[in-house]
């Protein structure tokens, strides 16, 4: 077994156990304390000696020894530790029985993305609890100081415990909006990994893969909710193009000029299958529509051209469901290709200016359309704003060269 596979196995077992313990004690921190050393031991041992047959039981046995040691040191065992002891005992019985270990990770995901949890903390919390990523790694992926990220995570875990947030699957009437928050948090992890093209930034390496893994998990745990599949299809479509986003010299290549031979056909095929399965439910929604837009782009690998009319139509639907700035700018880009630059520009001008002051894609598209319309002075100004708002040096170079 490869090192990566053994590490993933350790993360999976850790996530399941943490969810189990936290769901019963409502105390994520205590559950982490109980499992932390066992998890480190697993990360160390499993790649060498192989993943044990009863992975959860292995972790729990180590965790229990640590709990007993801890109690001996503390002499007077506090109530929380005692309660956790009982939960670990019960978990151990479950883990060593023949039946599959109960999977409470879905409840944990819903807790992480609970509306009472600070939105900025949701994705980090998910990565830490479900996947066992450490705060320092998460902090660097989100470009935050490790100490600040650590504090933020400590705060939200205290809130989960002390504010009495329950570990439950939301009721049917709440499920769509609560699921949206879970998916949004997963997408944020993907986005953070996506920004880092081709893994050039070691701090962000692999976060896109973790997000896709979480997407697969939600799809498996909630098979009847098409929106999870929509998000997974969207991420896979984007992932398929990872290697086409830069040329051999490391220069930025916009989607419309990417070499389709560099797109991953297996990922595209998987995305298409998942999206087709999602659309069978006949419940179109935000991520499904976004995936469908990427699916039309992917067709270029087969047909050699892009059906901008179809993309414009999908954006129209998307705006009706989720009128985000991103969707409005995307729609303007599609309109410019389908109906002409004037149509695209008026769609851009219809967006309230205060909403786009700091939104790079708006200025990049604006600049592009103004240039094609021969409005050089305005284009120059828009390019300057787009350059100023770009984080990625390759994108900055691309914009400067475009003018």
């Amino acid at each position: 077994m490869s090192h990566a596979a053994a590490e993933l196995a350790a993360r999976v077992s850790y996530g399941r156990l943490l969810a189990y313990l936290a769901a019963r004690s409502r105390d994520v921190t205590a559950a982490e304390d109980a499992l932390g050393e066992a998890f480190v031991a697993a990360l160390e041992t499993w790649p060498r000696a192989g993943v044990p047959d009863k992975a959860e039981a292995w972790l729990l046995a180590v965790a229990r020894r640590r709990l007993i040691d801890g109690a001996r040191h503390a002499k007077v065992e506090d109530v929380a530790a005692a309660a956790l002891h009982i939960v670990v005992d019960r978990a151990e019985q479950e883990a060593s029985s023949k039946a599959l270990f109960p999977d409470e990770r879905l409840k944990l995901l819903f807790v992480c993305a609970h509306p009472a949890i600070d939105e900025a903390a949701r994705t980090p919390l998910m990565l830490q609890t479900v996947l066992g990523l450490d705060a320092a790694r998460i902090a660097s992926a989100f470009l935050v100081a490790p100490a600040a990220m650590g504090q933020r995570l400590v705060r939200v875990k205290a809130k989960i415990r002390d504010a009495g947030i329950r570990f439950e699957i939301p009721e049917p009437r709440e499920l769509p909006s609560r699921l949206e928050a879970v998916l949004q948090a997963i997408y944020a992890a993907y986005d953070s990994g996506w920004e880092d093209v081709a893994g050039a930034d070691p701090r962000r390496q692999g976060l896109a893969e973790e997000a896709i893994w979480l997407g697969r998990l939600v799809t498996r745990l909630l098979p009847d909710e098409p929106e999870g599949r929509g998000l997974l299809a969207l991420m896979l479509h984007c992932e398929a193009r990872r290697w086409a986003r830069r040329d051999a010299e490391g220069r930025y290549v916009p989607l419309t000029r990417q070499d389709v031979a560099l797109w991953s056909q297996p990922l595209i095929e998987e995305a298409e299958e998942i999206l087709a399965a999602a659309s069978k439910a006949m419940k179109p929604s935000r991520f499904q529509l976004e995936a469908a837009i990427q699916s039309v782009h992917a067709q270029r690998a087969v047909t050699g051209h892009t059906d901008w009319e179809a993309i414009a139509l999908l954006y129209e639907g998307l705006i009706r469901l989720a009128p985000t700035i991103g969707a409005q700018v995307g729609s303007a880009a599609a309109l410019a290709e389908a109906k002409g630059d004037d149509a695209g520009l008026s769609a851009l001008e219809a967006i309230p200016p205060e909403a786009v002051a700091g939104y790079q894609p708006y200025w990049a598209l604006s600049a592009h359309l103004l240039k094609r319309l021969g409005r050089a002075a305005e284009a120059r100004e828009a390019y300057a704003r787009a350059v100023g708002l770009s984080e990625d040096p390759a994108v900055r170079d691309f914009l400067r060269d475009s003018f």
Partner: protein
């Protein structure tokens, strides 16, 4: 688990209490809300409060008592009362908070009580 629902009311909510066309609706909706809490068996306390101009804020500094007319903080919405409810978890508390009349006009804050 006990939670306190803190009711922050707008100026127009406070004036609706004492007269005008909204008076009936104002008191009617709070009566109904209080009754619903009682019937659900979760009401554990609470009180309506007089408006903020009747507040007096006290600070003890360097052994001297400082008395100040008015509420602790001058904000657009002011504390108008509170309920203490006993429910199993935060989601239940938020469900009840959403039904509080002030949620639609001002704001309602939910805090878990510190167990003593």
């Amino acid at each position: 688990m006990k939670y306190t629902i803190l009711i922050y009311e707008s100026e127009s909510d406070f004036s609706a209490r004492t007269g005008g066309p909204r008076k009936e609706a104002y008191w009617g909706s709070y009566r109904a809300y209080t009754q619903a809490l009682t019937e659900a068996g979760i009401l554990a306390g609470g009180a309506p409060l007089q408006p903020a101009p009747l507040a007096t804020t006290v600070r003890q500094r360097d052994g001297k008592r400082q008395i100040q007319d008015g509420p602790y903080a001058e904000t657009k919405e002011q504390l108008g009362g509170y309920y203490v409810i006993d429910v199993p978890d935060l989601d239940k508390a938020l469900d009840w908070a959403a039904r509080c009349p002030a949620a639609a006009t001002g704001a309602v804050e939910v805090r878990p009580n510190l167990p003593m």
